[in-house]
Subunit: 148 residues, 4 copies
Amino acid sequence: MTATRRTRKASYVSESFRSQGIMKLLHARITRVENGFVEISAKNRTELTQQDGLVHAGVLATLMDSAGGYAVLSLLPPKSRVLAVEFKINFMRPASGDLIRGLGKVKRIGKKIAVCELQATVRKNKAWTSCAWGSQTVYCIRPGDAIG
Amino acid sequence: MTATRRTRKASYVSESFRSQGIMKLLHARITRVENGFVEISAKNRTELTQQDGLVHAGVLATLMDSAGGYAVLSLLPPKSRVLAVEFKINFMRPASGDLIRGLGKVKRIGKKIAVCELQATVRKNKAWTSCAWGSQTVYCIRPGDAIG
Amino acid sequence: MTATRRTRKASYVSESFRSQGIMKLLHARITRVENGFVEISAKNRTELTQQDGLVHAGVLATLMDSAGGYAVLSLLPPKSRVLAVEFKINFMRPASGDLIRGLGKVKRIGKKIAVCELQATVRKNKAWTSCAWGSQTVYCIRPGDAIG
Amino acid sequence: MTATRRTRKASYVSESFRSQGIMKLLHARITRVENGFVEISAKNRTELTQQDGLVHAGVLATLMDSAGGYAVLSLLPPKSRVLAVEFKINFMRPASGDLIRGLGKVKRIGKKIAVCELQATVRKNKAWTSCAWGSQTVYCIRPGDAIG
């Protein structure tokens, strides 16, 4: 893939990302786009917490789900669409720190179905910890496909 | 369970709910608390959407996860705590409408592990549709238990 | 649906079932076929157990997965095929008893993607207990569809 | 860990494995035991198939579930027990070939809850393919623990 095509793809993903109202609400930014891999970052703040002051599991899930969806989109031709079929997330460690990341990596992509590995990490005292890990099924609609 | 005890329990759940920063950010309110069942509601708005204008899967997951956790908490003695071990959600229909609900119902509760059924519904033109459905494992810490 | 069409559908499902080598190995039989619902039964025996003498989680999963797949197939036109995309199962109670059942019920069916609720029950002293519960995504290939 | 302790641990795992009736039925053998990692292998044969002649998803799940459980057990003190809380598996590619493997690797272990990554691979024409991938929650009962 040439640098130009990669840039075009990244900008296509970024454009879609900017249209997600929830990402603005979470102050989330897309911080890495590669082929089949996307990273989304957000500063932690009181507005993202559950009752014990940790980042709410649903916030982690939101960042992870978008990261996975865009990781799939990064491998599809322009004007494709993706839909989350399902995801499953294990919460492995308490999520506390100043910066949160949702990561999505494509493990397998077929004509209609893609599978992603999802992860969430938090930064505390400059060290990153993996606090959630999961899997996601994504339905791919390429231009010209009927909607499933 | 007497009316007094039920009210005390509901107020214990509501108090914890009010301490979740994310629920304020989502403008979510707890609208039903029964033994082993909780409903959380939020008005839909642009801030909750993904790129197609539908409610973001992560927003549904956030409401569902809290509903499940509080459904478990409603069955535990005061000063207990709950932690999400994992959840898995299938997104069955597009989530569009003016009101969103996350529902959690306890299917099984043991000494340490509870299992919940989760659901999300949306109201459109006064009709409710189930748009997401899933399962959740919750770890229960009763007063005096060591933290797992 | 007329009685004739229902019988034809049941016989289509049963025929496919008989071609599953694993069902013979487990001595499993299909004991109920309705539109969108299938039940598979097997006698418990030492050959199906894990180290504590309970039914192995994978045996429950096998019965549940086939039940879900056939529940979907029961709603599709003849010569359709189904593929398991994923399943997730919570094991809620120890599985001990003399008879085991895997149950699959379709919750939602679209053009390509169906979602099933799965359950496993065991009979002990003539009483049935639900020991596992889960969800499954099934990919539907109708006659004439490209394989996804 | 000394070679002696490793051997003792492997023999403890193998002993438990031999008491699983289902592994005999599947002709499965434990082919690798390391700290936090276990591999189980079985020759493919007609008795393990679904209707299209592929290995049944439930057979893969059975090997994967046991591999994960024993991977956790390999990290626990002697006389510990493990229980599957839940697993979720994505079936990524058709499982056909002459040899099947279920792999379990511990990603995180706490006092009560462990999380494993599960995988199934098949060998065809001497090449291995990953056909299923998933996650598992395991409940750990160390000697002296109350049963959860």
